[in-house]
């Protein structure tokens, strides 16, 4: 049981990491303040 929980925890931790990587792409791919003002 403990072994199952630890593997599942590793999988869930990885899933959170994958979602964070996805979110990071969003944050770095578009100009945000203050950089946005240079685009006008």
């Amino acid at each position: 049981m403990n072994r199952f929980i630890s593997i599942a925890s590793a999988f869930l931790g990885g899933a959170v990491l994958g979602a964070f990587l996805h979110y990071t792409l969003y944050r770095i791919s578009l100009p945000l303040e203050p950089f946005i003002y240079f685009s006008f």
Binding site: I7, A8, A10, A19, Y26, S29, L30, L32, E33, I36
Partner: protein
């Protein structure tokens, strides 16, 4: 940590990343917006919010399905068409919808600072195949014809481009070849290309609108993290502009100087003839002709109406005679250029706008908006009467 844990961690990472991508892809094709009226500053890039091309197209599809029997009218253009200064209850595009009636559906996708074929123009291209009777109505001023791939809203063009949502256009491909090769452009295009694969902008912009925002912006300060759908239309909380001579006088000299520096007035594009008259230089005419043909692929210009929105006559009266002549010539040449490229054109300078129609040099008060709506409605009906454009039912 055992190897099995490492494998579980890697499998989870892949599942998390591609699960988010799948969610983003799913969400990109569903309308996320409630009671949408326009891209006010809390719904566009000025406040670090970037609706994607897919989301705007899904919005148009939800508001006016292809089988609804109504003619979709997409509004593009800049802050004048965005109704800058007008509250939602008096927004000019609502007046236009009322004037046109139920046979039409008007959706206002114009945005502050957008070019003639940005925002609404990109969505117009994306929907062209499914909406054969659709019209694009957009605005600009003479001399400003930035192509959608190289404008302040170019992220939308490249988003649609890399998602393969734009109609095939060999002329566009030839034009893009060899351009946009600097490091900053490559990085920017890589971001759009990756979004076309993984839909991260679609997912997290959707989350920002529906649930919570994760981006701090000086426009919103402590409200930066609110779901954007909870925020009111920005103009509803602002004092309406006053169309009074005293207010215009307070705008001097800054607004008049800015007007004098516009392409349609400044002397750079013109040459004076021996008799004192002005003509536009051959070089600038050629350049503008090239820019105009790059706005929309054929045959879409024939379903597009470009409105040259006017300047406040209170300010134009304060220009010199030469400046006014150059301004009038710019509007005439702009009409000729766009018509020769297949566009329908209406010039606001040909209509009797008055100082009380304006809140500043170019933006319209509700009274000016009503006047604009009448002119645009007449222009749309004029296009619909032409035999080459499918009729509204």
């Amino acid at each position: 940590m055992k190897i099995v844990h490492v494998i579980a961690l890697l499998a989870g990472t892949i599942a998390g990343f591609f699960g988010c991508s799948a969610l983003g892809r799913l969400w990109a094709h569903r309308n996320i917006y409630d009671k949408f009226l326009r891209l006010h500053p809390y719904l566009e890039q000025e406040s670090s919010y970037y609706p994607t091309a897919s989301q705007l197209a899904a919005l148009a599809r939800a508001q006016c399905p292809p089988d609804s029997g109504r003619t979709l009218v997409i509004l593009g253009g800049n802050s004048v068409f965005n109704g800058s200064g007008q509250k939602t209850s008096e927004l000019w595009s609502r007046v236009l919808q009322h004037d046109l009636g139920d046979a039409y559906h008007v959706i206002n996708l114009s945005a502050p600072g957008a070019g003639v074929a940005d925002t609404g123009g990109v969505v117009f291209q994306m929907l062209a195949r499914d909406y054969p009777r659709m019209l694009l109505v957009t605005n600009t001023e003479p001399g400003y014809y930035a192509p959608p791939e190289n404008s302040s809203y170019s992220y939308l063009f490249w988003d649609a481009y890399y998602k393969r949502l734009l109609p095939d256009d060999p002329a566009r491909e030839a034009r893009l070849a060899g351009q946009f090769t600097t490091d900053s452009w490559r990085e920017f295009k890589l971001g759009r290309c990756l979004n076309g694969l993984f839909y991260f902008n679609d997912l997290w912009t959707g989350v920002s609108y529906r649930h919570f925002s994760t981006v701090w912006t000086s426009w919103l300060k402590e409200r930066s993290f609110y779901a954007r759908r909870r925020l009111p239309d920005w103009y509803d909380k602002r004092k309406p502009p006053k169309a009074e001579e005293r207010v215009f006088e307070n705008m001097l000299p800054g607004h008049l100087t800015a007007l004098q520096q516009r392409k349609s007035v400044a002397p750079e594009r013109f040459q004076q003839q021996p008799d004192g008259s002005w003509t536009q230089t051959e070089e600038s005419l050629r350049q503008e002709a090239r820019e105009v043909t790059a706005l929309l692929p054929d045959p879409l210009p024939r379903r597009a109406l470009v409105v040259f929105t006017p300047f406040n006559p209170w300010f134009t009266e304060r220009l010199t005679d030469d400046e006014r002549r150059r301004l009038a010539l710019s509007y005439e040449n702009g009409k000729t250029l766009l018509k020769s490229a297949g566009f329908h054109v209406v010039s606001g300078m040909d209509h009797p706008f008055e100082p009380q129609d304006f809140g500043d040099t170019a933006h319209l008060t509700p009274a000016g908006g009503r006047r604009l709506a009448i002119i645009v409605a007449a222009g749309i009906r004029g296009i619909q009467r032409e035999p080459s454009v499918p009729q509204a039912r």
